[in-house]
């Protein structure tokens, strides 16, 4: 039965919109392209900046080494848990690279590499996962918000911060990262809506790595792409190959530029793949097959860039070796940092709950102190 055939659905029931109504924007420029944007292996690669690409390469190699080292540390029991970004390094690194010093990064729990690429000491980035404190750095010093474990809840923070900065006349852009699963959370939608209504200088970067723990994207959303979600809020959605660091850098830079110039927020979906399990505690074989993983191996972010740069004479053996050496040095210092036992002070439990200690906490602190002293004497 068509609508016209429904009882009572005569012409008199069809009305034209009232005069004041009109769509607010032309949706077309907000819609993402059908295919993820790529630079490497296309003609667009002719305009690559050699110096920038060599830096990207070194960062990618360092990022891969960081992932390997962090995973090794979980096996040695030095880290309680580690969510790997092997395969996603291009997203993590490009996110950090496109920001100016005064800009802010809002990472999720998976994005320690982005924080490291922004210049944070890897040991500080891993404090949360080692377990000596929740946030191992001063967020204001590095302009990196605490790694957010609850999904998507950091996104409204990014909007609020960017909005506040603009109200104060400061040139600050906030870049907020979230996974594909996180886009289903209410906070994702509220953040996008606030950002668009306020025209806040924010860039939302969704790393679509295929899975939310075990759940594939198809069970997460029915939209054509996650980038399409931007149009409903009135912001452009961009679809980009998340393993192509040149494309990531370009699209993110453009979004940051737009935000900085007062053009409002952008939603970017980076199509990538999580090569390893959700965390070291997860068994990925229960929800995906080897063939899929193998297919993505052929699209590795480091290989893609290395191939392009060596073919164009931008990178040579010496450059590759230098990048690897630099990565080894980072890994060695990370190992040393993590092998030193963290010093924790039990009295810190009460130190940072309120600006002024409450009587209640003072009492509980005294109780713990007495217990510790008794333990010392025993």
């Amino acid at each position: 039965m068509t609508v016209q055939e429904l009882p009572g659905a005569g012409a008199s029931h069809r009305s034209t919109p009232p005069p004041a109504w009109r769509p607010r924007t032309d949706a077309a420029p907000l819609l993402p392209d059908a295919e993820p944007y790529r630079v490497l292996g296309t003609e667009a690669a002719d305009r690559l900046d050699p110096a920038l690409m060599r830096r990207c390469y070194a960062e990618l190699v360092r990022g891969r080494r960081y992932n390997a080292q962090a995973t090794a540390l979980t096996k040695q029991g030095r880290l309680a848990v580690y969510p790997s970004t092997v395969g996603q390094e291009a997203c993590e690194i490009a996110a950090a690279m496109v920001l100016e010093e005064q800009d802010w990064l809002f990472p999720s729990y998976r994005d320690t590499l982005a924080a490291v690429a922004r210049g944070l000491d890897p040991v500080q980035a891993l404090t949360l996962l080692r377990g000596d404190w929740h946030t191992g750095y001063d967020p204001r010093e590095h302009r990196i918000a605490p790694l957010s474990t609850p999904l998507a809840t950091q996104l409204p923070h990014a909007v609020g911060l960017a909005h506040a900065a603009r109200l104060r006349g400061d040139d600050v852009v906030a870049l907020a990262m979230v996974g594909d699963g996180g886009t289903s959370e209410g906070d994702f939608h509220e953040a996008l809506n606030f950002a668009a209504v306020w025209q806040a200088p924010v860039v939302f970067l969704v790393q679509n790595n295929g899975f939310a723990i075990s759940v594939p994207l198809a069970k997460q959303t029915a939209a054509p792409t996650l980038a399409h979600k931007g149009v409903g809020y009135g912001m452009p959605g961009r679809l980009v190959d998340g393993n192509d660091i040149a494309a990531m850098h370009e699209v993110l830079s453009e979004a940051v530029r737009r935000a900085r110039a007062g053009g409002g927020p952008t939603l970017i979906e980076a199509v990538t793949y999580r090569m390893e399990a959700h965390t070291n505690a997860d068994d990925a074989t229960r929800y995906r097959g080897d063939a899929e993983v193998e297919a993505w191996k052929a699209h590795d972010p480091i290989d893609l860039l290395e191939r392009e740069l060596t073919a164009r004479g931008i990178l040579d053996e010496a450059g590759i070796t230098a990048a690897r050496d630099e990565a080894e040095a980072m890994a060695a210092s990370l190992r040393d940092g993590m092998n030193a036992d963290p010093v924790v002070d039990p009295m810190d439990l009460f130190a940072h709950v309120y600006a002024e200690q409450t009587d209640r906490l003072r009492e509980q602190a005294a109780m713990l102190r007495a217990e510790l002293e008794a333990e010392d004497q025993a």
Binding site: H134, P156, A158, V159, H163, D187, E190, F194, T358, D359
Partner: protein, 322 residues
């Protein structure tokens, strides 16, 4: 009281350009209770902002604004509509100072009109204080007088910690000889006040139940009871000393609040009083609270809310020798 609250925000905004008011309908309309009336006009929409209709978004963006050095004052339209924001409240607002080892305190004031007694339909009358007081990192205050409405709100906005500021709806229209031109100084957050001195027993209460307790204290005089009434004003931190001193003097105590009794703030207060006043007590500490039910429809609320009669009954039961 409404006028005192407005005045508190206005004075805070005038003194400190980082104070921003935000919420649903707080701008042009001045809030559904008109508590933000005139602020958008005086300070502009950037300082008093009508936000999209999304409580998690309101509080979540306030977190980011506070991270950048602003002092957001967030209005949740009604008690039960603050619940969508609990994720932000509990996971971030309450914990940010702690998570960052003190590097990133969040000076956010969350104003929540709460409690019943105004004949509101469901979801407009919850006494939600137990959820807030159970969350470490939050300061929770509730004024019962016009002076406190002004003084405590100023103190909340000035606090470097997040404060849940519970506004007893049914006291919005209460009046007092209060001069907005020369607001009286009141003790800050964390101090309880003896609102009425007495010798026979102590009524411990806060917010919407304070006038009820004062009325009960007057009525009890006929029975020969001289009741002391303590207004907590601040639930977290809890001014145990003022309460304990009073109960040690009177030897008897009743805690009165609208929220349900099981797991309500009164349970905690009764336990603390028992721990510290055991040898001074002539009777067990009693509680007069709302029933442990979802807030009832308007025509039934009078049966639910603790009133003078129930308080007097409890006082009578304090004659423990029976």
């Amino acid at each position: 009281m409404a006028q005192a609250l407005t005045r508190a925000m206005r004075d805070a905004m005038a003194e400190d350009p980082t104070v921003h008011v935000m919420g649903e309908d707080v701008g042009t309309l001045g809030g559904v209770f008109r508590i933000t009336d005139g602020l958008a006009k005086e300070f502009g929409e950037d300082r008093c902002t009508d936000t999209p209709l999304a409580e998690a978004g309101i509080l979540g963006t306030a977190v980011g604004m506070a991270m950048y050095g602003l002092r957001p004052v967030v209005e949740m339209q009604f008690d039960a509509f603050a619940y969508p924001a609990f994720e932000q409240l509990i996971s971030h607002v309450a914990k940010m100072r702690n998570r960052t080892r003190g590097a990133m305190p969040l000076p956010i004031t969350i104003r929540v009109p709460y409690g019943g007694g105004i004949g509101g339909v469901e979801h407009h009358c919850d006494s939600s204080e137990a959820y807030y007081v159970a969350t470490p990192g939050l300061t929770v205050v509730t004024p019962a007088t016009v002076e406190d409405a002004y003084g405590l709100l100023r103190a909340s906005i000035a606090s470097d910690d997040p404060v849940v500021f519970l506004e007893p709806k049914r006291l919005y229209w209460s009046k007092a000889d209060w001069s907005p031109e020369a607001p009286a100084a009141v003790p800050g957050i964390g101090k309880a006040l003896v609102r009425r001195t007495g010798t026979s027993a102590t009524l411990i209460t806060y917010g919407p139940s304070l006038p009820v307790c004062l009325e009960a204290a007057e009525a009890a005089r006929e029975e020969g009871w001289d009741l002391e009434v303590v207004d907590l004003r601040s639930l977290v931190p809890f001014d145990e000393d003022t309460v304990v001193e009073s109960v040690r003097r009177t030897g008897r105590a009743v805690v009165v609040h609208e929220a349900g009794g099981f797991g309500g703030p009164g349970a905690e207060i009764a336990a603390r009083v028992t721990e510290r006043c055991f040898h001074h007590l002539e009777a067990p500490v009693l509680r007069v609270t709302g029933f442990d039910i979802p807030y009832p429809p308007p025509m039934l609320e009078k049966y639910h809310l603790p009133g003078v009669e129930r308080i007097l009954d409890a006082v009578a039961r304090l004659q423990w020798e029976n």
